[in-house]
Point group: D2
Chain length 344, copies 4
């Protein structure tokens, strides 16, 4: 079984391991598609992010989908041959947060391809993957594994929406049109937002978000003052999703979001130097969003029914053998939205 194993920054190797053992209540999945996420890129480019550092070789990847190869005796509801989206999130269901329904905040989370715990949690960029049966969601044959592998980032986007409350008829600003920002645009459109404005620094990204639901796309590198028109009467937008991870973008948001509006902070950026008085006097709700829980099943369902069509976001699929090339492409925002690996 081949896997994409990161040894240190920019040292990504295709290695052969023994195939994993399937236990009770589990399924064996032949992985077909694996999307490269921003955190995968951070590991690849920098060996980690923030205080999280790679301390041992780790298989990357958590946006994976495939076809069920075998199921353990007694497992029901799934069958060999089914295309499945694979949920990389495995909460303990027993800690303080799991007990109140906040499984995404689990104190003992085991999330694929994460160097937060040690030993690290190995990821999904591999040909064969053993999962618990409740991690896989079967999809109809009309959907490809490449679409199925969007279930994870779409779940992230849907969770960000859940943090904002109903968007029905709301004026929405999505700042940052990378894969998560673009999926937030698509999800906001599916959730009945009234008007969606997206911003980014790159025209290619903005062209994509127009395809998935934005009413207007603004290149703030070219038109840095374009949002000033939204500042009147304490601000135009009801809700902003800050998906750029930029302090400057957040500052703009404080100006263009109306009093008592909401800013969902998606991007993690570094330090944000904020004028607290603006948040205070306009009574903005600035809320964080992290990963997902119930939203994974919803994302898979929306992809299955194509209520959200993720295909415009797929830039290119490269074979596992070209993993390094795929990571380099994924790192180039002028060309890439979402790059996936194929394990066929």
């Amino acid at each position: 079984m081949r896997a994409a194993v990161l040894h240190s920054a920019r040292d990504l190797r295709i290695e052969r391991n023994a195939p994993p053992e399937m236990g009770a209540g589990q399924v064996l999945v032949r992985v077909h598609a694996g999307g490269i996420c921003g955190s995968d890129l951070h590991y690849y480019l920098h060996g980690g992010f923030g205080s999280v550092r790679l301390k041992e070789p780790m298989i990357l990847g958590h946006e994976v989908a495939g076809v069920i190869e075998r199921v353990a005796t007694g497992v029901t509801g799934v069958a060999p041959g089914q295309i499945v989206a694979i949920n990389p999130s495995r909460p303990c269901h027993d800690c303080r947060y799991c007990r109140i329904g906040l499984q995404n905040q689990c104190l003992n989370m085991r999330f694929y391809g994460s160097a937060m715990p040690f030993p690290h949690v190995q990821g999904g960029f591999r040909e064969l993957l053993v999962c618990d049966a409740d991690q896989v969601i079967p999809l109809p044959e009309t959907v490809s594994p490449y679409e199925a592998a969007f279930a994870e980032p779409l779940a992230v986007a849907l969770h960000a929406l859940a943090r904002a409350g109903s968007l029905l008829g709301r004026r929405v600003l999505v700042a940052g049109a990378g894969p998560i920002g673009a999926l937030i645009v698509a999800a906001a459109r599916a959730a009945g937002a009234g008007e969606i404005v997206a911003t980014d620094l790159h025209d290619a990204a903005l062209a994509t978000v127009l395809k998935v639901g934005a009413d207007r796309a603004i290149n703030i590198a070219k038109a840095p003052d374009a949002l000033a028109a939204f500042e009147a009467d304490k601000g135009w937008f009801d809700t902003m999703f800050e998906a750029a991870g930029s302090a400057e973008t957040l500052l703009t948001g404080l100006k263009v979001v109306r009093a008592r509006g909401t800013i969902v902070q998606v991007g993690q950026g570094a330090q944000a130097s904020l004028p607290m008085s603006m948040l205070v006097t306009k009574e903005i709700d600035l809320v964080g969003t992290f990963r997902f829980h119930a939203e994974f099943a919803l994302a898979a369902d929306f992809i299955a029914r194509r209520r959200i069509d993720v295909r415009p976001l797929l830039t290119e699929v490269l074979p596992l053998a070209d993993a390094v090339k795929a990571f380099e492409l994924a790192a180039d925002r002028t060309r890439a939205m979402k790059v996936q690996l194929s394990f066929d």
Copy 2:
């Protein structure tokens, strides 16, 4: 009629003006008590705050109470001789925000003693004040005008609580035990908070908050690491009120507030340099709070029934003639919680 008129930073004069004219639907109040607020102090010490600067002489003061002297023909519900709390907030009831019930965000607000608009809105530190009848709330004779003058800052505290949702049984941290922080402690106790911890840099302030409902008071100047014990399992407190206006305090809050907890930002401070990743990964709600609306009547009622006893907060009452001395005392947090002027 005498009034406390600020001409520029530290140039506060007691001046005699013609008594104001009472119009239809109005009442004439003889002011007895006027509390010195942080914004009054900012005007007095610095001639303004942030981008708001004094551009013409202005009567200070918005925490005022008195006794009704006369009421215009046709005004009902109030009568000469009644002790009244005076609501300094006058929204237009017609703008975009008023129309959705957010009168505290009124685009045309006329708030006593504010240099935000020009001409400035003259304040309430004067012997005679004309108000609209719906600005005054009669209180029973068991309550003094000095207590009544706490209705405004208590309304600010109650509005901060409203921004946090129900506190029943919640673990609450109040950081900053100035007058607003102390009133938040008292209000949180009245709202059924489970455990209230207050912090400040001054022992005098902490001694006071223990009298009005804090379970524990911590001097973080003396015990800078005392809050570290609350960081385990992503944080202890459900809700924090940041009433210190300090970036460092807010940072501490991000550490000790639990995942999905709420931080109500009350203090305006200057710039806050925040690690966004902590707000994001813990999914904190950081929400601003500004002034009040419906809470003024509630504050007056709580004072009337002494459900919240504000008397422990009153440091000293000085006559109007000693206004400068009163302002200097109010500026000294080692000695003063709330200083009021008497206009008798």
Copy 3:
């Protein structure tokens, strides 16, 4: 100017009146389309509903749209020739409820074609109508007045959704597929509901809701036990909209809505004999919904952009001269979804 005036039950007359006078801040609209609503039908068939009775001749109608003929001097934002949806709701903006943003609960509401106040508020089934400028919303020429006249019932549906909170990914049951039920289906689809099941007694209605977004339509006259399958584990649906006004339907809802789910009661029916213990032990939220406020502008916008396509709901348009025939058709649920009058 001709108008459809109801004198008593089933005594509907086309009468000629003097054209209305336009005042300051107003516009004169030539009405083109007028939808017959359930309350119009109640007046027509029974002379009223509940305790509301017709006490003087009244022009019916509140689902109207037309083309602006003239605008008063100084009115901006609208111009002659524009197709407009007309908001029949005129709250006072000054009462207890308006002041907290609940204009639909206005104590002094003047809603077109309503016999609640006396003298009655005359309605919109007339050739010429004078409105306040803020009652009309211009639509693009790509939309017909017949679509525009759906803005009012769509606003009712959107308000019902607002009462339910976010529907994103929710399992929704819409019981009763009349015009409001059908528009709730369409709105729930636009709001990202996960699965929508609709029920009714008539196949024609069910065929229509399948066109506007229902995943499944069940004729409970033919399959009275079809919903029993949704009772397991305390119930399947997250949210139910009871748009049938039937006690029996509501009872079914209590069985098939999950614990802590929501039932939005839209239909007014008569008495509902409910087993309280089921509402209590499952902790259902049973919430009423009435008319709309902010949702009118949103409805007009969704129609303008065809984010919700109302055209499948339009059964037939009859000329004003055939108003009686139109009302009789509208009363026949086996044939009619929405019947409109044309005033051309």
Copy 4:
């Protein structure tokens, strides 16, 4: 070990059983106090309620407190000699509802003294009780076991409050002043309600609620029209707790609760014949409340600190040998608020 075992309606016997075996992770409690609840009374008087019927002998009781006798090896946090409140609610923590934090809706709940499952879940009216360590909450010695035995009904009251959202400053009507209604009054006062009106048919009950926080108590048997004064402007109260289980009371609530107000249905009564149009047009939220989860620890804490003083509610304590007499007294609402058994 003696226990109060119900064999059929009014056949309550004091029987001797073998003492229970303590397993790993458990504690053995010597029970001191056991409050008689409405459901115990229903079993005693009628052999069940609704569709729940006694099918085998069952030890009654779920409001119990005692002193820890022994703890299993490895159990920490509790020690022999401690007074403890005992949580009778044992959810599975694994079903659909537990997984979203709604443990009180657990599909596999094992609640003390309940005939819902078969075999029945034996209750706590016994001298010795084995519990899981996480069921017991130690209280300070300043609190008696009789107070501690109020933790369960107080948790029910606090959960009812949680269903209503923040009560800070709200106008609250508590209809029905039995033990739960009275505890709701006490909890609403502790939660900062603005004004609390309580109603009942019995003066004794009303006298008690005035002691624990009601501002006004109305005997609606003597003054059936006393609430009519609260109907103006669509209703006076923000929130009503219907703790009488009476359709007539609920109907009154629909009249006196303001538009968009909330009615929390606590009592289960039988059928309620409701005019749906009133719920619809006033957009009332009618929400059920059932048992509790997190509120048990909060109740124990409030009793421990005497933030809620339950002592005025304790009518009489009778020895286990007089259990029949105790049940007969508890059934007489003209004399009894809360009757407890002593197992000493």
